[in-house]
């Protein structure tokens, strides 16, 4: 059961479609496991629909419906209906079946990282997977800018509580913590780091939330 949820403002930006791709992914993966937040997003989507309805309307060109029908009746029988598909998690599509079996790079005795920023071309953020071995401790550290983290596997604990699978947490420079992986699984997190350009040169060792 997840205990730590995105705040309403983030969900609103998600509903409006204004988040960066990595941030949207964190919210989406949380939503998949959290009926409570799905219900909040449904409400916000309704707000979006009602906002759209309250705005001015713009007349379409005379032939636009005919054009549309021509496309629907197109030579290959038109666009195929979308069929309900077996559910494949976006995470699985992105990282394969086993997130434990990735080319992890060990940084410290207990900490490994994998930078997946290149999977999100054109996004101005750093996207990092981190693994803290079961029972392992990360050194005390603070954060630079805002860092959004979603727990993908296992759990970690710090002075703010226990963060379980699918929990969502945003940390910033005020948050100094010393996370410990709890439970019997390695703790794996997905983190999105707002990365001001001036910092990029130093980022190699500035990886959050376990390190820094």
């Amino acid at each position: 059961m997840t205990r730590h949820h995105p705040d309403s403002l983030s969900l609103m930006e998600y509903s409006a479609g204004n988040l960066s791709e990595p941030h949207a992914l964190c919210i989406r993966l949380h939503l998949d496991q959290c009926p409570h937040c799905r219900s909040r997003v449904d409400t916000l989507n309704s707000l979006g629909a009602i906002m759209m309805e309250h705005q001015p309307k713009v007349t379409l060109s005379d032939n636009s419906f005919d054009q549309l029908m021509a496309r629907i009746d197109g030579d290959e029988g038109g666009p195929a209906p979308v069929m309900p598909e077996p559910r494949v998690s976006p995470l699985q599509k992105l990282l394969g079946n086993d997130i434990n079996d990735l080319p992890w790079k060990r940084q410290l005795a207990d900490v490994s990282v994998l930078d997946i920023t290149d999977r999100f071309p054109g996004q101005n953020e750093r996207v990092v997977l981190q693994k803290l071995v079961a029972g392992g401790k990360a050194p005390a550290h603070t954060h630079r800018g805002n860092e959004t983290t979603l727990v993908l596997q296992g759990a970690f604990a710090d002075q703010n509580g226990v963060f379980n699978q699918w929990d969502f947490v945003v940390l910033n420079e005020q948050d100094e913590h010393r996370p410990v992986a709890v439970g019997c699984d390695d703790c794996i997190t997905l983190s999105v780091l707002s990365a001001p350009l001036k910092l990029t040169g130093r980022f190699t060792r500035l990886l959050n939330p376990f390190l820094r």
């Binding site: 205990r3 949820h5 705040d7 309403s8 403002l9 969900l11 609103m12 998600y14 509903s15 409006a16 479609g17 204004n18 791709e21 949207a24 992914l25 989406r28 939503l31 799905r38 219900s39 909040r40 997003v41 449904d42 409400t43 916000l44 989507n45 309704s46 707000l47 979006g48 629909a49 009602i50 906002m51 759209m52 309805e53 705005q55 001015p56 309307k57 713009v58 007349t59 379409l60 060109s61 636009s64 419906f65 054009q67 549309l68 029908m69 496309r71 629907i72 038109g78 666009p79 209906p81 979308v82 309900p84 559910r87 976006p90 599509k93 992105l94 999977r119 999100f120 071309p121 054109g122």
Partner: protein
């Protein structure tokens, strides 16, 4: 708690008319229903495209949204979303998709738009919560007219102009904290915040 037998009968009467049309498109490829949906929603979506900075692609976006509506209408479930909400999320996704395609240089898109921004009801097997949904929609409709103009302005910029809270603050020349507090006040009135406190 209402008994399960009563619920469908109670909510059936509250099906919105656009939802009925959408179901007819999904079940029977009903073209008259499709045309009625187009007449109602296409001018809204065209404005949505223009306000989102896609003026030169506005008709194209409307076309993409309606092709998507045609293809997906068989998945539409009125119990999970009002037609207007469902169509809004399709318009939003198509807008995102169009921008992604325009900005894409050479790299493959690793994650599809639909994997990032969900359409309500897709891939969901949870118990139907139609009553709750209908109530929250009605609440938004009723409360929205009670919100002060400055709160509506901020929400409109977020939803219609694809602006982050920070960008809204810059544009209106007010602190980010003020934007956030206006949004929070509005969401509070709309009872989205109240749902936060129930966590």
């Amino acid at each position: 708690m209402t008994t399960r037998e009563q619920q469908p009968a109670k909510t059936e009467g509250r099906k919105d008319p656009w939802g009925v049309l959408l179901e007819n498109v999904g079940k029977h490829q009903d073209r008259a229903a499709y045309h009625a949906l187009f007449e109602h929603f296409a001018p809204q979506i065209k404005y949505y495209a223009i306000s989102n900075g896609l003026a030169s692609h506005a008709e194209e976006l409307v076309q993409e949204v309606f092709v998507s509506i045609w293809r997906r209408s068989c998945l539409y479930d009125w119990r999970k979303a009002a037609a207007s909400t469902w169509i809004f999320t399709i318009a939003r996704n198509q807008r995102i998709d169009m921008l992604r395609k325009m900005q894409r240089t050479s790299a493959e898109i690793a994650v599809e738009t639909e994997d990032l921004w969900q359409i309500p009801g897709d891939n969901e097997n949870e118990p139907v919560t139609s009553l709750h949904r209908l109530m929250s929609e009605r609440r938004i409709r009723e409360s929205l007219s009670l919100l002060p103009e400055e709160q509506i302005t901020v929400i409109a910029k977020v939803y219609m102009e694809h602006k982050s809270h920070q960008m809204v603050a810059d544009e209106l020349n007010i602190p980010l904290g003020t934007v956030k507090s206006r949004v929070r006040l509005a969401l509070n009135k709309l009872k989205v915040i109240l749902q936060d406190q129930n966590v």
